[in-house]
């Protein structure tokens, strides 16, 4: 217990205090790494392995960073997964004609357009974000099916630079730097937090809340478009299916966003997202290395996330949580 208290004292330490959140996250990552390394030293945890885990986790991190803009304002979006599907397909189709430019512009512009539609409908129809995005998810899945012509879209091997290093890392880090800069150094960042804090007061103070929310949706889906580039390059193909299957793609990025929100009070949202997704990747792969079926991944992820949110939650006495 003394150790714990001493550790918590770090928070007020002049130099290390600023990095308290990061240190905490790094410790968590190390903890899980150590556990799995001890349990299966042969299959897990070599530098190559870690490098591999990092590359798969940054795909989700990019999406999570985009999603963060929305979640911070108290909104939600179920169509992230459908965006990845639709944007990937558009990107692949355009890549056939215009190469890398087609891939990048196709995915990102499609994502941005989706964000714009989401934001616009949310504002004009005045429906809660959770509900309007469920409806839009259904629509985008169908749209993806039609755009793909019912055919699996395969990305040409010559265009898969973003599916491996250094392409993927460069693109992902560009996205991280961009989202971090927007949050810290622009009005948008401040206004997003302001709206999340108290929308009514923010509105009275002259912030154009509707416009800000629209910007939030556009930013979110723009970066999900970038995630689509990384996703389809890594997976080399994308198939459009209906039946709300895209919902499954929502949750891994969402977990990264939770990390961001939980660690926001330490001032380290974006790094928290990146390290958080990395931790999840470690856990996933740790279990695979142990020979556990992939289904166990989900069990552990759910449990781990629950544990992390429970530990980092410090609600005020008498606060109301819905």
């Amino acid at each position: 217990m003394k150790l714990l208290r001493q550790f918590q004292k770090l928070k007020t330490n002049k130099i290390l205090g600023r990095y308290y959140g990061l240190i905490l996250l790094a410790l968590m990552a190390f903890f899980f790494f150590a556990v799995f390394k001890l349990l299966s030293p042969a299959n897990f945890g070599s530098l190559d392995n870690l490098y591999f885990y990092l590359q798969s986790s940054i795909i989700y991190s990019v999406g999570a960073c985009g999603f963060y803009f929305i979640v911070v304002m108290g909104l939600f979006d179920f169509s992230i997964g459908a965006n990845v599907v639709l944007s990937s397909i558009v990107g692949v189709l355009l890549s056939k004609q215009f190469g890398y430019i087609g891939l990048l512009f196709g995915c990102v512009l499609c994502g941005t357009l989706i964000g714009f539609i989401n934001g616009l409908l949310y504002i004009k129809l005045t429906i809660p974000s959770m509900i309007v995005t469920v409806g839009l998810m259904l629509i985008y899945e169908s749209a993806a099916y039609y755009v793909a012509g019912g055919v699996k879209q395969v990305l040409d091997p010559s265009m898969q630079a973003f599916g491996r290093a250094p392409g993927n890392i460069l693109l992902a880090f560009a996205a991280f730097l961009a989202t971090n800069a927007i949050l810290k150094y622009t009005r948008t960042g401040t206004y997003c937090y302001a709206i999340g804090s108290n929308e009514y007061t923010a509105k009275i103070m002259g912030i154009n809340v509707n416009r800000q929310k629209l910007v939030g949706f556009v930013l979110c889906h723009l970066f999900v478009g970038v995630m689509a580039v990384l996703s389809v390059s890594y997976g080399t193909s994308m198939t459009a299916t209906t039946g709300m299957t895209s919902m499954a793609r929502n949750f891994t990025p969402l977990m990264g966003t939770f990390f961001g929100v939980a660690f926001r009070k330490y001032g380290t949202a974006i790094p928290a997202i990146i390290i958080g997704e990395f931790i999840i990747a470690i856990i996933f792969n740790g279990f695979v290395a142990l020979g556990a079926p992939t289904t166990v991944q989900n069990i552990v992820t759910g449990a781990a996330l629950l544990a992390i949110v429970a530990i980092t939650a410090q609600p005020q006495k008498g606060a109301v949580a819905k």
């Binding site: 401040t190 937090y193 302001a194 007061t201 002259g206």
Partner: protein, 498 residues
């Protein structure tokens, strides 16, 4: 003729069927401190909201220094020289102090879309120091500061750009004496600088003392504008209400009907950081008052007695030995509570009058756990009518009611529960004069019936008028006790509060 600075011409605003501001015209001079008073629903807050762009005008216009004002939000208002310090929380959690101060006006720190945070922080700290609030660090999250400091930050935010017109909307009620002093200093400095203040407050003595002139609104219309040094509180009350207050407001007797029977025993009650070692007895038929400065802990004490505090130590015991630990205990043993924060803690705003009244009595009204709608309706109607709640029907949502009627619904609920002990925290806050009189009459009736009341209030007059005993709290402890007597006056009490 003094140069007219600000003019309102035929300003009009309605919300649905409510005609909030009814063709009001007035003029304010340069460097004048104009008080604006009126009961709840008189239109004073709406009028100011129109002036600073929170609502749009239906009709009429505002003119400042000869130019018509076209304002759609607070940022535009600020740019045209109007600023408001609001009644509720005007700052946002999750942002730093500096971000709050410059919210909406970050332009000067932005170049090519990038916000220069360090420069912004430096500017903010300079301003805070200039106001004398050196203890506030501009780079910290505003969450680190308590309500009063946050209000001070809001004052900086609203006035640093030296607005021509500063509206202070019922801000003083929430501030401690220190905070109020700061505000009065600011008002004097503003006046000396040739700029104007519109000052809204329910505290008539404060308004008379700190303003040059006072405008009185009633039912959305301007009744009169008077010179502050030429009126008394009673004159103002008459103008506000429109007729002689011939009812006696408070109790007229000086005999306590309180017996020796102790209904409630409070011993050694502590809530960390709020109250310490509180002990007292509550007698049957007694009105026991608690007074003090806003942060003295009396509000927390009310919650503690009701079982609503977290981390409470000490005992609250009923006659017969039952200990009160939690709210359900308190209610089932006949204790009632009306909170100062009416809209969040007393009344369920988005719910019907019936549901609000019936809620704690649900178990009592059930036949073998089954509730019959007719029975509930009858119960609710009986008690709502008993309190003369102005409503369309029992299904009406409480959100449609005025502050006074909401409080009546709260009281109707506890009368329906037939509670023997009522803890009333600021029961007449923000309520118009007529309803206030009704509530005082009710309290008097209840004590004569043998019920006991703990009355917590920041208004000394009503404590003096209504209570058998008054406990004054200071810094979380009981500092003095006074008994009801015609000789007791405010000065005696104030000394013990400060």
């Amino acid at each position: 003729m003094t140069d007219t600075f600000l003019t309102a011409e035929d300003v009009d605003k309605s919300f649905g069927i409510t005609h909030a501001v009814n063709h009001v015209s007035l003029q304010v001079a340069r460097g004048e401190i104009r008080g604006l008073i009126g009961e709840n629903g008189s239109g004073k807050s709406t009028f100011c909201s129109l002036l600073c762009g929170i609502y749009g005008l239906d009709c009429g216009r505002f003119t400042l220094k000869g130019n018509e004002l076209k304002i759609h939000n607070q940022v535009e208002a600020n740019k045209q020289g109007i600023s408001i310090i609001v009644q509720e929380m005007g700052t946002l959690a999750g942002l730093t102090v500096a971000e709050n101060i410059f919210l909406g006006h970050e332009d000067r720190f932005i170049r090519y879309g990038i916000k220069h945070t360090a420069a912004m922080n430096r500017e903010a700290q300079k301003l805070l120091d200039a106001y004398g609030f050196t203890h506030i660090n501009a780079t910290l999250m505003i969450d680190n500061f308590h309500f009063e400091d946050r209000k001070l930050i809001e004052i900086v935010k609203a006035t640093y750009f030296k607005p021509e017109i500063t509206i202070i909307d019922e801000t003083t009620t929430a501030l401690s004496q220190h905070g109020r002093e700061e505000l009065y200093k600011l008002m004097e400095a503003t006046k000396a600088d040739g700029r104007t203040i519109i000052f809204i407050s329910h505290d008539l003595s404060e308004v008379i003392q700190h303003t040059d002139t006072i405008s009185v609104l009633r039912d959305g219309m301007l009744i009169d504008t008077v010179q502050s040094d030429a009126v008394t509180e009673d004159d103002l009350k008459k103008l506000m209400v429109g007729r002689e207050l011939n009812k006696q407001y408070y109790r007229t007797d000086y005999e306590s009907a309180a017996g020796d029977e102790v209904l409630l025993e409070v011993r050694g009650v502590c809530v960390p950081g709020q109250i310490e070692d509180i002990s007292f007895d509550l007698h049957k038929g007694e009105i026991l008052g608690f007074g003090g400065l806003s942060e003295c802990g009396m509000h927390e004490l009310g919650k503690a007695v009701f079982g609503a505090s977290f981390d409470r130590k000490g005992t609250v015991t009923l006659k017969g030995g039952v200990r009160i630990h939690a709210i359900p205990d308190a209610i089932s043993h006949s204790i009632a509570y009306a909170s100062k924060d009416r809209d969040n803690e007393s009344i369920i705003v988005n719910s019907s009058i019936r549901d609000n009244i019936v809620l704690p009595s649900a178990d009592d009204l059930a036949d073998h756990r089954i509730l019959h709608k007719k029975k509930l309706d009858r119960f609710a109607v009986e008690h709502a009518q008993g309190m003369s709640v102005k409503m369309t029907d029992i299904d009406q949502f409480v959100s449609d009611l005025s502050g006074g009627n909401k409080q009546k619904v709260v009281l109707a609920r506890w009368l329906g529960k037939a509670s023997d002990i009522l803890v009333l925290d600021s029961p007449t806050r923000g309520i118009d004069v007529n309803v206030k009189a009704d509530i005082y009459a009710l309290m008097d009736n209840l004590r004569l019936q043998g019920k006991s009341i703990i009355m917590i209030s920041e208004e000394l007059q009503e404590l003096l008028g209504m209570c058998d005993r008054i406990m004054i709290m200071k810094n979380g402890k009981i500092n003095a006790e006074f008994s009801r007597s015609p000789a007791l006056n405010e000065e005696d009490i104030i000394v013990k509060m400060l």
